[in-house]
Symmetry: C2
Subunit: 419 residues, 2 copies
């Protein structure tokens, strides 16, 4: 028998949490147990959920009474896909009082159906030829209502600044001015022109949108026109669709997962799905090569512990510990690693914090912090590259900025936080 493990945080002043846990383990698997005939129990044992642990926290000044409950679900009960797992462990249960799904661990059998990121960190680094520093991504400033020439020129300015990746805005959909095939062609042309000047390779994550059942064709059309990466609003379509895209052998480019709509599920302490599950484990399992999420530094904020929990599950090679349940043999190579992209409100003066917290395997991602640079967009990219260089070389940003006018101008504009 093999099991997937769900961990819930469950609130209740008076709740008998042990009884609640038993109710979940039985109710979401075999339905009833104590009233089954003994002969039947023998057959049904392999389908019965198990209460693994119940840890009660009595009410305190900072939190009402709750319990963390772990239930192991026999994987023979569901098909080996994310919708089946989520409907089993958090379908009806999501509506049953104050309860949040805070962690998932998977059986080896369940994991066998997943191939994870097609490229992962190593693949992306090798495509870019950058192995020894954090990556830099920039976001278009504004895109809606702009024509192809304007987008291409925005793109080229970003590329000239030395960024490694450029992503579409997640709210840029198919439109007559800049449909995906034209966007890809024009932007890849701009990338080639910039590369001739900078020598720098670049991935452009073009936004994959439209009806679910046309996404594969849309992705292939983008690839035919030269696309070398995709952006995808995973939560608007479901994790299974990401998995289908990421595991399609004809979709030969990395996928960056955008967290749009995630805030409908992770921020409440009492309901929903924890950020490290929603934007961490399930994204990596389903095959995101890069995962964007709100940083703790900028405008749209997520607590730092949650950021670091996402980072850990995207990067860990201890898969048996962090992903597996009773899978001591699970290979560390089972899932490639996904690149964390803490986003929103980032400017060059935050680079020391980002690199301190995330180390080298991170994408520093900025929009306004590049386009809003006093010396222009290309200078905005250069200021970030300078900030990254400074931290990598162990210089203080202030000191380094004295020799690097773009970085100096960024610090003058937005300030500096070194801790």
């Amino acid at each position: 028998m093999s099991y997937c493990l769900a961990t819930y945080r469950c609130f209740g002043e008076q709740t008998d949490f042990h009884k609640k846990a038993q109710g979940i383990a039985v109710g979401l698997t075999v339905g009833s147990w104590t009233d089954l005939p003994e002969a039947k129990k023998a057959n049904m044992q392999k389908h019965l959920g198990q209460v693994v642990s119940v840890e009660i926290q009595e009410a305190s000044a900072s939190s009402p009474r709750y319990a963390d409950i772990q239930i192991a679900y026999p994987d023979v009960n569901f098909s080996l896909d994310i919708p089946a797992l989520l409907v089993t462990v958090f379908g009806k249960l999501s509506m049953d009082g104050q309860i949040k799904l805070i962690d998932l661990h998977f059986s080896e059998r369940f994991l066998s159906a997943f191939s994870g990121p097609k490229y992962g960190i190593a693949g992306i680094r090798s495509q870019l030829g950058v192995h020894d520093r954090p990556l830099l991504m920039s976001i278009f400033k504004s895109v809606i209502g702009h024509d192809m020439q304007e987008l291409a020129s925005q793109f080229k300015q970003q590329a000239l600044g030395g960024v490694d990746l450029i992503k579409d805005d997640e709210i840029l959909f198919e439109n007559p001015l800049t449909p995906i095939e034209k966007r890809v062609a024009a932007c890849m042309q701009a990338a080639a022109e910039a590369e001739a000047e900078t020598g720098q390779k670049l991935l452009y994550a073009v936004n994959l949108t439209g009806p679910t059942f046309q996404l594969k064709e849309q992705a292939k059309k983008a690839i035919d026109h030269g696309a070398n990466a995709l952006l995808f609003n995973v939560l608007a379509y479901g994790f299974d669709t990401l998995q289908a895209l990421a595991s399609d052998p004809e979709i030969t480019i990395p996928v960056a997962a955008h967290p749009a709509m995630a805030g409908a599920m992770y921020p409440s302490p009492n309901y929903g799905i924890g950020a490290s599950v929603l934007l961490g484990k399930l994204m990596r399992l389903a095959g995101a090569d890069l995962v964007l999420f709100p940083s703790p530094y900028g405008s749209v904020v997520m607590p730092k512990e949650e950021n670091l929990a996402i980072q850990q599950v995207l990067l860990t090679e201890e898969l048996a510990k962090h992903y597996g349940y009773q899978t001591p043999q699970l290979s560390a190579n089972k899932l490639k690693r996904s690149l964390p992209v803490p986003s929103a409100g980032i400017h060059p003066g935050l680079t020391p914090l980002i690199l301190r917290d995330f180390g080298q395997d991170v994408v520093v991602n900025a929009g306004g912090g590049i386009h809003g640079h006093p010396m222009g967009t290309a200078a905005g990219g250069r200021a970030f590259r300078q900030a990254i260089d400074a931290v990598q070389q162990g210089h203080g940003l202030k000191e380094y900025a004295a020799q690097h006018p773009e970085l100096q101008a960024a610090i003058d504009a937005w300030g500096l936080r070194e801790n």
Copy 2:
């Protein structure tokens, strides 16, 4: 110009809600406005979001300070699909502090892309030949680990009780014992046998599961084997997938939407998406013929106001008022009506309340309240039909039960609530 309208409830003790609203209207459309050259503004005006209203509620004993903010988004900015709309109006914004999406209204142009339920209430009633009373649905008792013969015999007992619909458990996935094609064949055979005794037609909503890109084939396989309805875990796959299924001309049977996972999004007052949007408007728009949701009567509860808000948007023919934004000409026939199915913890003694609150266009839905009947499953169905008859004929349940032993036994077992 035509717009879709999003209504948010936004919390903040100190927040300048007017400024926040402006920030949303600009930030989620053209990106920036005040720093645009005048010539550019003329071009961009048609893409600019509009603040429609900001209603501030100061803090009270029952609630912290909040504002209801309405923003109109030009529909030219996004493609005519639910993922594009949701990513636009609640993508990044979902992660920006305490904010809940509480309503949506649609432009005529946006609505033009949706055909809604293929059958709707009238279609389902005519398939069943039942026009003058609430419908009765029953749910399998336990399904996991049971073989085909056990399921078929459970099915037949339910059918003999006179129910109109039987639904799979939402956690029954493809498995070697009862794969969809065998399940459909055996259950439809049992339905035919029961019909020969009862004269009653029956819809069996078989659970459509598995990989997204195989769902259409799976649905067609079920239809080939005689399926006459589908159950679908919409939120595990996304609304767009429901729409694709419901609008596929080869999927010629009604779809019942299950609310699994909805509790990750609707219950928090501060985050997520309101129940009447998630389990109401978007379900009807995407084409659910029936929509299940937690009732306010039973074990998994939703407040009654939220139930009635869902009911209203599933049933209303005043589409211009409830669905449209600036669409005075919107036809009342644009979207067929979806049948509300308040579920969980229902027993015959609750029938008077359900019919009082929901009227005739409702599905009374029970699992334990049928299978747990002291005289058995078939008697459980009959007790519900008797309860419905009593209410329809204006009898008190107690009085009617004196002549109807199944109803009497149900009341003895579970009690009675008439108000």
